[in-house]
Structure formats: C-alpha cells, structure tokens
C-alpha cells in the first residue's frame, strides 16, 4: 500500500512509496517538483521536460546484503565539472540507503547517526577502519537534477560542501555540510553484477522472460475439435486407437498448459555465502487468483564451481499462515580424470508447487551454500565488506503462478496408451 498523489502539472498518477517520510516528489512523468509534506499537494516548480532514462528505473527492486531495497529517488550531482548519480533506496523495515554510481562504479551508502571518531592527524575512525582524506576530496557539490521522492525538501541547484575520506580497502566516508547540518555517510563498494540483479517495476511494458505457456496455442483446440468430430468411432482399428491416444495426450497437454499458463511473475535476488550461515532471502509477495494453481519457482545462480546450494522454498499464506514448502538444489562440479576434463550439474533449477489455493503469499527462500573439497577450486569471487564471508553466490529467482505438470501428463499418456497397448497385443496375437 502506498499514498497515491496526482501530479497537478501533468495529471500523472504518482505512488508515494515512503508515505509519512517523503516530503518532496519530483514527478516521474514531467519532472515537476511537488510538496507532499501535507495532505494538499503543492507545486514547487512546474516542468514539462523530457526525463532522463535511469540505469535503475524508479520502482526497481533488488537485494543487497540480504535486504530488499526499492529505488524511490534519483539525484544527478556534479562537482568541479565531474558528474555522477545517486539513487535513494527504501525498505520500510530498514529505512533509507544511497546507491552511488560514478563512472560505472557502484557504492552503497548508509547515513551515520554518530560522528566518526577524529583520530587527530586528519584521519577518522569508523567500522574498525582508518579513513584518510582523499586527494582533491573536498569540493562543493551541486545537485543538477532530481526525480522521485525524498524525505527532505529537495531541489535542483542545492549545494553542499563535501569532504571524502578513504580506507585502504576501498570503503569511504563522506561528510556533507549545508551550513545548518553535517551529515556523515559510510560507503562500501558493490560489484556491478549486484546492480544488474535489480529488476524494474512490474508494468505493462515489462518484457516477460518467457511467453506464458499455452499462449499462441489458443487456436489449436478448434482444429482438434473438428478432427475429433470427424473421427469415426466405429472404426476401432489400431491406427484410430493410436489417434485417440495421441489426441488424449495432446488434449491433456493443452489443458494442463492452459491451467498452468502464468499471469503473475515475481522476481527476487539474494546472496548466500559459501560455508557460511544460511541466508533467508525474502522474494516478495505474490497474489494467486485461481482457486487452485501450480506455482513455479526458477532459480539461476552466478557461476560457481565445485560447490552446491541447498534451497528451501516457502510460500506463506498471509491470511491463513498456511505454509507450502519445497526443496531445490544447485550443484556444479568439474574435474580432470583420465578421460580429460569433466563437468556435471547445473546453475539453474525449476521447482513446481501443485494445487496452491488462492490468496496472498509471501515467498521466502532459505539458502545455504557448501564447498566440495577439491584442491583445484576456483579463485574466490567478491568478498562482503560488512562481514568476513569468504565467498558468495548470487541467486536470482523467478516465481510464477502456473507451470506444466509433466508428471500428471505422463500419467495421462500412460492411461491413454494402455488400451492401445492391449489392442496392439491382441492384434499381434491374432496375426500370429
């Protein structure tokens, strides 16, 4: 739920995501700056501009260090002729963070509630690190463009005096002063691949990864029905029996595919550290409309070798608290033996839930990753700066209602094929 506001300048429908916190909104359709601090929306500055295309569109969601974040605001800033972008992230249970992107390098920033300790020689202490002043790190920053919502009275052209301090391992502290207040921010580097895991908001223009199953086959049943009507049942020859069995199998496939055609999709990402603690990854909420349906969860992981990931999926009904759970595993091994190099396993998996009743479900994944002890193990990937996890595996999930119940279909095929088999045996025995 969110607060809905209509832009007085362009009539665009704006959803205020951080209702109660948000003070300013720069309309995502026309750029006009609005004051939403009070029930009546006031226009601060009216624009009808062509808006920047953002690398992370407003409303995108992604998981960083186990917390899901939504992009709600965007600032373009510059200092001394150099420009960069800052995205405001929000989670109602975790507050706000900043995602800073300059020259394709990403950092996650958290506002500090205490001042870093001044260590005397111009350096500062924070998070058991020493931060030294960055060369040319002091500058006046000008905000040149804004979009989305903010918890303060934001405006293009506002200036702050900033100083930057860096630690040996790539983290930094930023101190911004606007004459009234001083705000410190702690920034840690992020691999660009984590940002790629952000998914844009669901909307009519959202390109689905796969077309819904059963789609495009809508015309076939009529042809099938015509064929069925034209079939002379008296002619119980082996070929007709085979035709009926084939038709039954095809019909069952179409019915199952139609039953399983997807209408909603939910995406999420997370990370799990290898040989570390199990990670609980909230994927989000999915609304199931049909009385009973299949739910498919697909997972794809970042590349790993000689490790495996155990996954525990849970669909929790908000109203009844009923839980549907299913396990999945990803494993991939390679090695060298007398026949040369070998590999087995996969970096993706698909899990099907059957007969899930209608309702609002929270989808939660518990993941744990383990390494297979092999001396020829791949070089470790990115290390989490907030903890000392040695290696992490990134996971991307796609939850869809629907899914093809292949097991059930094979049962139908077997059922349709049985009389055929019987006739075939009879036929065979007669000709002998």
């Amino acid at each position: 739920m969110s607060r809905a506001v209509t832009c007085p300048c362009c009539g665009g429908a704006i959803e205020v995501k951080a209702a109660g916190y948000t003070v300013s909104v720069a309309c995502q359709y026309c750029g006009s700056l609005l004051d939403v601090a009070h029930p009546d929306v006031k226009v601060i500055a009216e624009y009808h501009q062509k808006l920047a295309r953002l690398a992370l569109p407003l409303g995108s969601r992604g998981v960083l260090f186990g917390t899901q974040w939504e992009v709600i605001g965007w600032l373009s800033r510059e200092a001394a002729g150099y420009a960069w972008e800052e995205y405001l992230l929000f989670n109602p249970y975790a507050g706000f963070r900043w995602l800073v992107c300059s020259d394709g390098v990403w950092q996650l920033g958290q506002m500090l509630t205490a001042q870093p300790k001044a260590l005397g020689d111009g350096t500062y202490g924070w998070a058991s690190r020493r931060f030294g002043a960055e060369e040319d790190g002091a500058a006046t920053i000008t905000t040149t463009a804004v979009l989305g919502e903010f918890y303060w009275r934001v405006r293009a052209g506002e200036q702050v005096f900033a100083e930057s301090f860096i630690s040996g391992d790539g983290q930094s502290l930023s101190r911004e002063a606007n004459g009234e207040e001083v705000q410190w921010t702690h920034l840690v580097p992020l691999p660009a691949s984590w940002i790629k895991g952000f998914t844009p908001p669901q909307g009519p223009d959202l390109a689905r990864p796969t077309p819904p199953r059963g789609g495009g086959e809508g015309k076939r049943p009529s042809g099938f029905a015509a064929w069925w009507a034209g079939l002379e049942l008296a002619e119980t020859s082996l070929s007709a029996m085979a035709g009926i069995a084939l038709a039954t199998a095809l019909g069952a496939m179409l019915i199952l595919a139609a039953m399983g055609s997807s209408s909603v999709a939910l995406r999420g990402q997370g990370q799990v550290s290898v040989d570390g603690a199990a990670a609980a990854i909230p994927i989000g909420a999915i609304s199931l409309k049909r009385p009973k349906q299949f739910v498919t969860i697909k997972v794809e992981s970042s590349n790993f070798v000689n490790q495996w990931v155990d996954l525990d999926y849970r669909l929790v009904n908000r109203q009844t608290q009923a839980v549907f759970s299913a396990p999945a595993a990803l494993e991939y091994y390679t090695g060298v033996d007398s026949d040369g190099t070998w590999s087995e396993g996969s970096h993706s998996a698909e899990t099907l839930f059957e007969g899930v009743p209608a309702g609002q479900y929270d989808v939660v994944v518990e993941a744990s990753a383990h390494s297979w002890n092999d001396p020829t193990r791949a070089a470790p990937s990115y290390t989490n700066p907030f903890q000392t996890a040695p290696e992490t595996i990134g996971l991307a999930f796609l939850v869809e209602d629907g899914g093809m119940a292949w097991g059930l279909w094979w049962l139908v095929v077997a059922g349709a094929g049985l009389p055929l088999l019987w006739v075939a045996i009879k036929h065979g025995s007669r000709t002998r």
Partner: protein, 213 residues
Amino acid sequence: MAQMNCPQCGAPLPMRGGGLPYAVCAYCQAVVMRDGMSQVGTAAVLPYDISPIQLGTGGAVDGTRFTVVGRLRWGWSDGSWNEWLLQLSDGTICWLGEAMGQFQVLAPREDLVERFSGPILLGSRVQMDGQNFTASDIKQVTCLGGEGDLPFACPKDWALESIDFRSDAGAALSVQRDGGRVDVYSGRYVELAELKPSRLRQIEGWTMPEGLA
C-alpha cells in the same frame, strides 16, 4: 485488557497501558480522560504513513521489555515524524522517535527541566551526562494526530516549540516547550533490530526481514 467505551461514540476504548491518564478513540478521535471517562477534546485524524511500528508492537530496551501503547505524530513546515509511546515492564514510559527511517529511544528527564527553561539559540552548547550537546534544530511543530493511550491530551492544532540537540557520539536530547510547560527527553539512536521487536506491522508488498518478525 480492561475494556471501556468512548463517551462520544460508544466504541470500545481498550486500556493498552496501565495508569496513563488519556486515550484517543480509534473511531471518532475523541480525546478521553480515563478518570471519569469524559471527553476533553478531539485529535486530528492520523495521516497514512508506512511505519513498521504499530500499537501493540513489543520489544526490549536495554533488557527491559516494552509494549507500544500510544503514538503522537508531529509535523513542521518541512516534514513530519512519529513518537511512539513505550510502556516498559518496570512501570516507566519512554518514547521511540521515528524520523527519516531512523529511530531514537528517549526517556523523560524531569531533573533537567529547569536547565532548559531559559532562552535557547541555535548552536547553544550544553553539557549533560558527560557529553557535549549542540542545539541543531529549533522549530515550531503541530500535532498531526494521536492514537492509543497517552500521558497527556493531544487536541487538534496543538502547537509547541521543539528543540533538538546533537552530540558527536549519537546521543540524543530533545526539548519541547509549550508556553510555560517544558519537557526534556534524553536518549540515543537505536537500530530497529536491536529492540528485538515483535508484532511489527505487516506492510503490503514487503516481506518482514527474518529476525524482525
């Protein structure tokens, strides 16, 4: 939970905290004095917000259990924030301030009232509990509404002066002055998780992080 009814509309007015003199009716916003169950005013209707806290949320501050029994919402020209009333298991109360996604636990300090009765200017420095505080924000605030049980009445258009002090170490000091009445609160910033909260509000479209539910 003792059950009483609102003298204005007859709706139930559950007693969430013990010994708090006022309550706001959830249906008609009547501000009711428990002693005699009489209406003393009307509170503003709370505007919609997306706070993770709600009446009934539980948790612990420094090992003492608490329950959220009331809330006041304050606004000024550039924004608004929540003050959640915590009733602690030792019988005392304190406030959980919630602004800009950050939380402060603040306890009333009657011993400091006299020190903050005189004029205070932006940038004024005070020493308290061995820490240096600077007056960083002075503003006129208006009560935007209230709910639950409260230590004082919260009529519509209730306006007062609010002064925030900052310290280098993350300690917090807040002074509220309403004509002759002075209230002083001191405390610190806290992370929501460190309060080990239970019964947080379920917000649609978001999954409650593990460890907070």
